[in-house]
Amino acid sequence: MADYFIHVCIAIFLLPLAAFGIVALFHNRLPRHGDWIVISFMGIALILALVIFGGALRAAAHHQPLSQQRSWEWLWLNFPKSHAAQTGAAGAAAHAPIEGVSPSGAVRVGILLDGLTAVMLVVVTVVSFLVFLYSSAYLKGDVRYGRYYACLSLFATSMLGLVLSDNLLTLYIFWELVGFCSYLLIGHWFERKSAADAAIKAFITTRIGDVGMLIGILLIYSNVGSFRYEDIFRYVHDGGMSDSVRILGLEGSLRFWAAIGLFFGAMGKSAQFPLHVWLPDAMEGPTPVSALIHAATMVAAGVYLVGRMHPFFPPEALLFVAYIGAITAALSATIALVMDDIKKVLAYSTISQLGYMMLGLGVGGEVGGVAAGFLFGLFHLTTHAFFKAGLFLGSGSVIHAAHHEQSMWQYGGLARKLPVTFATFLIFTLALCGFPYLTSGFFTKDGIIGAALQFGMQHPTHKILGWTALGAAGLTSFYMFRLIFLTFFGQPRNEHLYHHAHESPWAMVLPLLVLAVLSLGFVGSNRTFGLIHEASWFSTLVKRPTPGAHSAETAPAAEPVAAHGAESAAAGRGSEHGTDSVHLLPEAHHQALVGSITVFLAGLIGAALVYYFQWIRAEAIARLFRPLYVLFLNKWYMDHLYRACVILPYLALCYFIRLVDTYVIDAVVNFWGWAGRAGAWLVGRVDWGVVDGAVNGTAWTTGFAGRLLRFTQTGLVRNYILILVAGATVLLLLFWKI
């Protein structure tokens, strides 16, 4: 396995980026708005990803797991060592060289290529390529066709960047970028208010989670001094971040809080309760977008994050993950039971399946957990990506045929009109419900349920996790077959719509066929690709990183390293091939097998009784369980709750602060302005009345006196003589007296 894999990875990343650049700038001048550029570039990326995947499989077969790394200096930040140096237990770790930071203080970012990355690359490129192809028919003649393809390409770039990142910083960057693309694509038909609302809701809800993630990253960086997974794992392996911190009355280690912070980001992105509310609304986007972003890839990013950072998560945090996953899986399955919109049903089913993955990862802890849970959690991500993308594309085919009518009550009997869509849809549904052995979903979902059950056996207080998972599986089977019966079977409920329905063009059917093949049992089975029989191909590729052992291979040259060290470290946990034991305890495996087949059949039969044979009327059940029905129909009132408790108070606060700004702070300013003017006016009055008054008064007095005296100045000599004589007389009289 040569170093060139890294270059191949760079090529895979740059191909859609180039396509984005070209189409974004020139789509108006290119024939067909340049969709062929996006599709063909993605096709090349897909081939390259398969090359890497093959290389990874070969490497795994030779017991030399793929693990390559290459990084570059990117951002100048400094790292004050004080915090790390203070954490006593981690003192040693703090002095160890940190690979993620250059001597110059620059943060290094780069590519990490290991088994998990290889799998994710294939998942992303396969689904992307098929969806791109499908879109060319589905969105034919759309007003913003070129923009749509540019966004898709940017999304693929970001998603590939996300899985290729070797550090939390670039992961966070691409994490936000996929959210941004999701925002643009949900709002693709932004003339519709509902679409614009859904876009903003998706962005804000996930961003709330991202604040937690940012805080988690800040906590990690401020302690470790690096963003790189490897440095982080090594740091916590050596006992770092174990200081106890009390937040909101809860005591937990720094590591715990950082993990919870990261998981908040994952909850937002992977639509986990209670941040799941955005995903159903996101169905306002074009259906291929729902398939690619809101079912197969982006929403799985949260699961990927938890899987990638799994060694960092302490057991308490993983328990939290498991419970959130279980709650999500069950809660959204109940809502899916009563939805009428075909895409909404699938959306809630996606949330539910993401919950399963989280549950699997949650119970898959290194200490006291079930190792298989970790593997099957990520494995389910992989298999789910294919059949859920297929379900959405299939529903798109139905919607396309039905002239964009999405209510299942308008469908009926469409199997005859859309035979290929129906056949593939059935395969996807069986995979989702876990039809034994023939479908991929069976193996992975069964694995998660088994892991959860075994976890319950090891920790009897948490038995409920396994039973919840099993129960939700039954609900899954029920609502999916409800969808099948309502859509494809029975009599057409809307004759006009039925009459005009027709099978979709090849560009839409072909992806369905490919995905149907990828949903078959061989993908999830443990006998595929002629590999080690005890473990499936997935478990030979994907391994939980073992932090302590990696120190030998952190040479900056990023030599391809055989992880024999990892194996020797893992040997302590008693596994031959360096993998965590993927075997479940026989009783757990047995319980899961029997249980999941039972609930699958129960759900199928239940749905058939109600919606196919119609022996039981749906209305009757709804009436019987009225409070529950209303609760489910209103989505557990989550949206109402958010509106009443978050959005409205927030807006009220905004307007209140605006009032404060205008009528308090600005009023103070204006008061001083007014006071200045009032003072000036007063001074003006004083100036006019007193100071100027004195001056004017003097002038006026003089003038008045002058005016009075003017009368004496007659110009007649006799008058003057008279005055003279009178004056002299007066003077004489005065002196006489003396």
Binding site: W74, W76, N78, F180, A196, A199, F203, C654, V668
Partner: protein, 518 residues
Amino acid sequence: MVVPDSLLLTLITFVPIVGLLVILCIPARAAGAIRWTSAVFTGIVFILTCLMLGRYFALGGPSSGGTFYFVVKADWISTYHIQYYMGADGLSVSLIFLTGLLSFLACFAAFGIQKGVKGFHAMYQLLVCGMMGVFCAKDLFLFYVFWELMLLPMYFLIGVWGGPRREYAAIKFFIYTLVGSVLMLLAMLALYFQYRHTGRPFDIDFLIEQQPFRTALGIQQLLFWAFFICFAIKIPMFPFHTWLPDAHVEAPTAISVILAGVLLKMGGYGIFRINLPMFTDTTTGTTLGVSTLYIIAVFGLINIIYGAFCAMAQTDFKKLVAYSSVSHMGYVLLGIAAMNRAAVNGAVFQMFNHGLSSAMLFLLVGVIYDRAHHREIARFGGLGAHMPRYFALAIVGFFSSLGLPGLNGFISEVMVFLGAFTADESILPYARVITLMASVGVVLTAGYILWCMQRVYLGELKPEYKAFPDANAIEIFTLAPLAVLCIVLGIFPNLALRVFDGTMVALIHQLYPVASGF
């Protein structure tokens, strides 16, 4: 090099004065000639700033660490020991470049102005001269002269060419700034009488060396806060921010661009240039028993959160953008307060980025104001589909402001967060708590920006806007370079960071000589 290094800053500062004189010679009725003359002269200034940037790199500026280049020094008013002393380090260079770019682009945004074209552009040239001078001056008195010089044209540009409440806004702006200037003047007088006998009372280098009133910390604190309030008004820091919404809203588009893009940066620049290095004891110490940096950080936090809340509640498009400036400049204060390499670089980068993104936002608002003649957010709708080219640029501008990764705003925000979060508790008390609270701003920002975009650009197109043409060539010419810079600096932030990193590291070293971590 065609231009000698020592002449470069003088040219950058005084070429606009030549422009002013030329414009005054053109008859007022030749409006087109006046506009293009103005554009040519700001263009020359911009080219000179590019030259300066190139020379800065050629001279090894990035690795020099706080050295001043392009120094020119001559006696000016020797009786009072006032010098004509200019020079530029990494901080100045980046802001001079920003000023050159924005004044050039904003000049085109002013092409639509029909009233008193001659007066407008004459004032505009004077304004450019003042702004450049502030960033170049190394003599405190010279600094003050340019600081005041810039005030005068700004007053008229708002008061004559502004919107309906222009007189109120202009006077408010003027008086606010003047109050600050008076404080600065008083502080300068104190420095003058203290150092008159040395013969260099206004020389910033000398004052930094002297650390005025080291032995009388009470007086030093007084001087520190006198300067600080003067700069805080410009930033604008809560509670001195209320001039900004009014001035922004009433000013014509080009002037809003300059206000947000350049004038606000003068506040941050002043703190970096004068407060921090000149009064290190106060900076690293306490005021009234409270850590000075802590006070600054708390005000930064208030700015971030308070500005975001206010922005959310605005109904006027331009006012919303104005309050977003308040929020964004809070990151600068927070970065200054954290006082480590990541945070301080983040703060300077945030100033630069805010210069780009807020300039874009005001230009974007200007484009639709020119067409609709109102700015009420609620009355818009659906413009995105109708004006696709404009909408594409708007997405870059708004998301840069929102801090989307891949665009420049994200880098500076994250650097401030990282720096503030890792700040030494002995330097900035409660650094982590403050940072955690500030990180809520990330969601609030997304809230008001997306909601605003939704109401203006998304949804059904209102019939009264059917006739709006898409952005024209001039509008694209003003917006596109900024958009490109936003993207390029988002992916290659080091292009900008290396300009001022050395300067900032030197500053931190000066403040905390023993602090390690470099």
